[in-house]
Symmetry: C2
């Protein structure tokens, strides 16, 4: 090996750049490292946003608190000791110049990585565009951060529900809606159901019956696309028996801060909407000139080579790789791992002039956890398993696939501690949330009520707002506001409750500036503050004239 490390030796090796650190990317790099150790003339770089691989099948356990936060992640440097790791954002891929551009890190310089072989392993992303309000108000469930965020949000909701006085507001807070009845959606609904129904025991003031977990699914049974009809029916029944409300044959069409809207107009008031659909291939792929894609996935032949692009390969969820029967591989970890092995061997075969292999794997079976220590499994040969036995299989199989003995030990310790030590619904407050955000309201929804505490300033991006005030106890419209106008500044400047009610007349998109940020801006920028104060004064004067009284008395 020492001789091969000289500059001369290095120059002869092919530079392989792997984009993405999920199962596909990591197992490709792993296979290439092993082949290189046996003398294959390749050197590997891997680009990923994080320095760890997330073991996604266990994210629902992180949400439920069954395993520790870091139990499900493996450090890439430890897994891949001979790979050069670049923890940077991917900025672009140039197939002509054969370079990958990485975004700026702590210094303001972008970085170019030249490649001989490029491996696209960019996976799926949750893509909420296209459903109004979903990008602003739905929680995705895809990454470790997502699982943590949902857990923290659920605990926050319990804390606030325990001290809120209005029973309707409390029921809204205690309603948790999950959209999507595939593997991901059923697992998160089951984990959330287990977690919330257990955690609520610590809150004396919360009536148990106010807790609702709702699963919205477009089909007749959950998991019907993934499993046999028999198992799908079993899974549907198990979820329902655990107290999960199933809204089947229903579709989410909009979301707002007040709740979820289904096709047909039904509204579910909630503060927690988790959506596992829709997901789509990484949008970076769409921008690569000359890459053949079908609905965002990269078209490959059975050797995992991208069609028409010599030295470009794809693997995993972002790739469209035919199975022996001709149909495309499904987007699962078991397929990605086996594609990665074929891919790595074919890169080396290309370098050494050997013959390329074809991907020939049809799947080992399917597993889904259903909460309450129950699961469903579909094995080769049409064998199906369900209930606690399937759940033990589920844990056993995934545990055996955890990379490394130390990870296996940590997870086993967590599972054991969990049996003997009480769970602790601790909210890990990392304080990230601040700065301007966007919000979407459906027609008719109230943004704030007269008398509410004031916590933000709103600017209208699209839509119309109606402003009204109670005069002699009756609401009276006093005007409308359009895109480009803002509202809510009066209460913030005066530190008093809202002096009017605002309501969306149309679908409404808002830019929301938190009160603390507004205060910081107003303190720093006298002009900014002056402008708002002037408008607030003229609005207050108009209020006073209209009500025939001093507007300040409203406060």
């Amino acid at each position: 090996m020492a001789a091969a490390d000289t500059d001369l030796g290095r120059a002869r090796r092919a530079r392989v750049v792997v984009l993405g650190g999920g199962f596909g990317g990591v197992y490709t790099a792993l296979a290439l490292e092993r082949l290189a150790a046996k003398g294959a003339p390749v050197e590997v770089s891997l680009v990923n946003r994080e320095n760890y691989l997330v073991f996604q099948p266990m994210l629902a356990e992180v949400l439920a608190g069954d395993v520790g936060i870091l139990d499900t992640v493996s450090p890439l440097r430890q897994l891949l000791p001979r790979t050069d790791l670049f923890v940077r954002e991917l900025e672009g891929v140039d197939l002509q110049r054969r370079v990958v551009t990485l975004g700026a890190g702590l210094t303001p310089q972008t970085l170019e990585l030249p490649f001989d072989h490029l491996v696209l392993a960019l996976g799926n992303v949750t893509d909420f565009r296209g459903i109004p309000g979903l990008p602003e108000h739905a929680l995705p469930f895809k990454t470790l951060a997502d699982a943590m965020r949902i857990r923290n949000h659920a605990i926050n909701v319990l804390e606030q529900a325990s001290v809120v006085q209005d029973p309707e507001a409390r029921r809204t807070m205690l309603t948790f809606v999950v959209a999507g009845g595939g593997f991901s959606g059923t697992e998160v609904a089951a984990a959330l159901n287990d977690f919330v129904r257990h955690a609520v025991g610590a809150y004396r003031s919360i009536p148990r019956e106010d807790v609702r977990i709702v699963l919205v699914h477009s089909g007749e049974r959950v998991l019907e696309r993934e499993l046999t009809p028999h198992l799908a029916a079993y899974a549907t029944r198990v979820l329902s028996e655990q107290g999960i409300e199933l809204l089947l044959d229903q579709r989410l069409v909009a979301a707002s801060p007040l709740g979820a809207v289904l096709a047909g107009g039904r509204r579910i008031p909630t503060r927690t909407l988790i959506s596992t659909v829709p997901s789509s291939p990484n949008p970076v792929l769409e921008q690569v000139v000359g890459l053949p894609t079908v609905r965002g996935r990269v078209e490959c032949d059975a050797t995992t080579a991208v069609q028409g692009c010599e030295g470009v390969w794809a693997v995993g969820d972002c790739a469209l790789i035919p199975m022996p029967g001709g149909e495309p591989s499904p987007p699962t970890a078991q397929h990605a791992i086996r594609q990665a092995k074929v891919l790595a061997q074919n890169i080396v075969a290309t370098q050494t002039g050997a013959r390329r292999r074809s991907f020939a794997f049809t799947g080992l079976g399917k597993l889904g956890a259903l909460g309450h220590h129950r699961a469903v499994a579909e094995l080769p040969g049409k064998i199906t398993v369900q209930g606690p036995l399937a759940w033990l299989m589920w844990r056993g199989i995934y545990w055996s696939k955890l990379p490394g003995a130390s990870r296996k030990t940590r997870v086993a310790v967590s599972w054991l501690s969990d049996l003997v030590l009480p769970a602790h619904p601790v909210q890990l407050n990392l304080g990230g949330a601040r700065g301007a955000t966007q919000a979407h309201y459906e027609p008719g929804e109230v943004v704030f009520e007269q008398g509410d505490a004031a916590d933000s300033l709103f600017m209208i991006l699209a839509g119309t707002v109606e402003v009204s005030q109670r005069v002699d106890g009756r609401p009276q419209a006093i005007g409308t506001l359009q895109a480009g106008e803002y509202f809510g500044e009066m209460a913030l400047l005066g530190r008093r409750p809202r002096s009017a009610t605002t309501r969306a007349l149309t679908a409404l998109d808002l830019l929301v500036l938190p009160g603390a940020d507004f205060a910081a801006l107003a303190d720093s920028l006298t002009e900014f503050r002056g402008e708002f104060e002037q408008i607030a004064r003229s609005r207050a004067a108009a209020d006073a004239a209209r009500a025939g009284t001093d507007a300040r008395a409203e406060a």
Copy 2:
């Protein structure tokens, strides 16, 4: 107990509201719960921002990764089963009306809690105001979130240092500066030193000798205010032997994105500045009308009663409680815990007409961890212990004080796993950072260089910026910008590198809008985009005229 829970029984009990969930507040509530169980006529509410108590002495271990993230926290609902917990922001205290106002939660309503007795247990806060650049660029080390943030930042710095090409930029990234040589500063410097020097082993491309941990302290020895001269000298030597660079008799006077500035003008280029000073009592106390305070701490008599305010009590770091000798109690957990017991008994004594007790505790000793399994301890009777034995004592004593058997088990399991399993420097990317931030630059510092990748837009809050361009390879000033003006928009609109260099002529305060947020705003608000485009065009035209060439060629 059942009879006492009737409305009649409740009406007679005194309502005690405890503000703050640190050691002082939690142990007060705990003592009151115990007295109530024995029949004392009190009911307790506790207000805290989080639903857990952080075991602060172990935060440095979280940073170093020796214990799990949640090992050091205890859920308040589990510790205090009979206390009503309010996880809300504290908005105000009205001693006249005898109510506490809590901020809005998930609903926009504030909440008023009436009290018969009020316990102020609001602790210390890190207060960076007064040192230019410190609020924007220094990391505090006070809460669990702070410890996690420092750990994540250190890992990010290692990742970026491993791929940066400029050796000077790399050395800057690998310099970690800690300000303050008290218990907190020495513990964080020691933990960071242990963690970084161990973690860097996973980064092949980082030269070990580039790592610098610098501790800036205003005294001649670290811990000289806390320990005997002999132990302070020992602690100073131990830190120095571990490779921590001690800058003694030095003071931090400013910070910027580029580094730390010391009194006398010395600059330390760094991307990581942690400051444990200055800390001050919670500013909420300053706003309470009628509360006697001395330098922010609440003046109490030896019974922990606030002077001149019947039914108002204070405990812990925010309280000024005389010890038997007359001098005030130091701000340590051991004093807070014992004050809490006295306070609770005195509230009950007030209700039952019994005699109040006085606080009579002078301290058990002092302990400080120094990294590398070394510590210092000062025990009563002038006994001093140092080295590994003191470190074992440190762990043993704090472990025995962990609340609850399950917490003790979890920490013990973590410590044991740590001995047998390899540590994993995994960056927990929770994605919080976004939105506008502020930045401070010292005179002469560069905000960005011509040719840098563009990632943000800047607005000047205070100060003057010089703009220059290279003409025939030589930098040439082309103008200055003042408060209220912005810069950096040209590169963002055109998605190309910076076309000019900007430098602070004076101390400079900026509002920084990240490129992604700028893009979102520009997409949503056509007017906003139009205004920027117009200014960008006129600046580009001026550039073109000046350079006698098409400005676009610069890109």
